[in-house]
């Protein structure tokens, strides 16, 4: 048996109405609620269930982010992770760098599974799991909606465009979670107290031997999206059909 590594990203809460700064340099984050990326909560929940079935030694929650990401790691510990690690960075890293961090940690901890969210709801990239699997030269099962461990392999049901696909992967492997893999547990007050005593270490890219790439993809500017305007209101189905015909849609 071996550990499971889980990625925990600190992101703007899903309920926040995100606004672009007037100067186009980014989005407004002052005073905005921050949370664990929802897909990462699902990843953690799945890891905890596997450990609770006695199929993993421990669950290690890993975040790459600013010092404040310790809040999200404490939440992960309260949910049930055994220990946490913050790889502290000054600026957000691109997915390839994140994948290199997880590779270094996978080589160190020799996990059977690395479970990550299928995407983070801030940059919506959806790349880190696949990139890690490539660098680690291991199988990937993305968009997982069901995960069954069977000895040295996992059978994973994936949510693909045409429906559901099941693949079999030899362990160790990288899993990325889709929405319906599980429903994450609620945290109880005693768990929050217990989490304060659990280990949370802080490290850096340099400590892990990961260099930020010299030639990264640069973000030049942020803009608000084009807005759709409110259209016409109709009274009943007949008027609706008439309006559709008028627009040439029917």
């Amino acid at each position: 048996m071996s550990p499971i590594l889980v990625g925990i990203k600190r992101v703007v809460d899903y309920s926040v109405r995100v606004r672009v700064k007037p100067d186009g340099s980014g989005i407004v984050t002052d005073g905005v609620k921050m949370s664990i990326n929802p897909f990462d909560e699902i990843a953690l929940e799945e890891a905890l269930r596997i450990r609770e079935r006695g199929l993993a030694t421990e669950v290690i929650a890993i975040s790459i982010g600013p010092p404040e990401a310790q809040q999200q790691l404490r939440t992960a510990l309260a949910m049930g992770a055994d220990r946490a690690l913050l790889v502290q960075v000054d600026a957000p890293v691109e997915p390839l760098t994140a994948a290199r961090v997880f590779l270094a940690l996978a080589q160190k901890h020799q996990p059977q599974l690395v479970i990550l969210g299928k995407q983070a709801i801030d940059d919506d990239n959806g790349q880190t799991g696949q990139m890690l699997a490539a660098l680690w030269d291991r199988p990937q099962a993305t968009f997982a909606s069901k995960l069954v461990l069977d000895g040295a392999l996992a059978r994973v049901t994936r949510e693909v465009d045409v429906g559901l696909e099941t693949i079999e992967v030899d362990l160790p492997a990288v899993i990325t979670t889709d929405l319906r893999l599980n429903e994450p547990r609620y945290i109880k007050l005693p768990d929050i107290m217990k989490a304060k005593k659990k280990p949370l270490d802080v490290t850096s890219l340099a400590d892990l031997g990961v260099a930020a790439p010299a030639h990264a993809i640069r973000t030049l500017k942020f803009e608000p999206p084009a807005q759709r305007s409110r259209g016409v209101m109709v009274k009943d189905a007949a008027e609706l059909v008439a309006a559709l015909k008028q627009r040439g849609v029917l």
Binding site: A99, I121, D161, V162, T166, E168, I217, A237
Partner: protein, 321 residues
């Protein structure tokens, strides 16, 4: 000179329309010569379709029994081996491309650009972030290959009428001789809605929300969809409630679509849902709640009871709508 390679997406011997949209995206790069690569166990039928897309110079086939299923771990090393000499690699931002393209990029040691919605130049591309609440312009580093997924809702498919040459990748090329991993194996696939129009490429989509209140009631939508020749979609709330299958989910974490007509029935219009439909040409909303946010983006709105409006709509459309 720019050279782009588009990775063909196909299923059951047919080219997915997402490939023609990737070709359109690649055409946005001035002076780009465009190739398509088809990985398959039997590449001929797909290659023939791909060769008919206008603007494509060459269709390259990589036919191996191992390519029968699109397993990223198996396909990525072959495509990475083929990438030499190209300035751009494009795949669709469908589950196929999202699974595959980052793996290829990592093998090539470069970052990847997700969900390209517009091309400004060979290195400058635009993409949505934060559930499309912001659009960013990114610049890829000069001198390294650009690997990207293409937001299919943002591009029209490349026209037909092309006549590209079809050639198999040389049998001694590394992409063909490489030993492929066997640690990932395809088991099975279930496609519940395979006989209906494909949600991602349909011209018309009828979509239902939590207000449908049961899977049984969702059938009303399917009947209306049949009358319109439309695909069926659903909000996350409807999928979570078990009224509709997962693959029907439209929104930030489901499918991003751009049909000619989108009918949102009993969908309140959470930001995450609106993200998935912003590019639809005409949005129709029917909802009991006149304050529902969906009305802020709808071209035609109707405040009313679904269970009266939907059957009535179906009747009117069948009667010659």
């Amino acid at each position: 000179m720019n050279r782009a390679l588009v990775i063909a997406e196909h299923f059951q011997g047919k080219l997915n329309p997402s490939t023609a949209k990737c070709v359109s995206c690649a055409q946005g790069i001035s002076d780009a010569a465009i190739d398509i690569v088809v990985l398959a166990a039997d590449a001929a039928p797909v290659a023939a379709e791909a060769a008919a897309l206008a603007g494509v110079q060459r269709v390259r086939t990589l036919q191996r029994p191992e390519n029968a299923e699109a397993l990223a771990a198996v396909w990525a090393p072959q495509i990475a081996a083929l990438a030499t000499g190209y300035t751009h690699l494009f795949g669709p931002s469908t589950t196929f491309g999202k699974d595959l393209m980052p793996r290829i990029a990592a093998l090539l040691g470069v970052g990847q650009i997700s969900d390209v919605m517009a091309v400004e130049s060979a290195l400058r591309l635009r993409r949505p972030v934060y559930a499309s609440n912001a659009i960013i312009t990114v610049e890829a580093p000069a001198g390294s290959i650009v690997v990207a997924t293409v937001r299919v809702a943002s591009f029209q498919p490349a026209a037909a009428g092309g006549n590209a040459t079809i050639e198999a990748v040389a049998s001694d090329a590394p992409a063909v001789t490489a030993k492929l991993p066997t640690t990932t194996r395809f088991v099975s696939r279930s496609a519940a809605n395979a006989d209906r129009p494909d949600l991602q490429t349909a011209n018309r989509v009828v979509s239902g929300g939590r207000a449908l209140a049961s899977a049984e009631n969702f059938k009303l939508l399917f009947q209306l969809a049949d009358a319109l020749g439309a695909a069926v979609g659903a909000s996350r709330a409807a999928v979570d409630a078990g009224y509709a299958a997962n693959e029907l989910q439209v929104g930030q974490t489901g499918k991003i679509i751009a049909p000619e007509l989108y009918m949102a029935l009993g969908i309140s219009g959470a930001i995450q849902h609106l993200t998935g439909i912003k590019d639809a040409r005409t949005i129709v909303a029917v909802n009991k709640d006149s304050e529902a946010p969906i009305f802020e983006v709808a071209d035609i709105g109707l405040v009313g009871d679904l269970f009266q409006v939907v059957p009535e709509l179906e009747r009117l459309i069948r009667a010659g709508g």
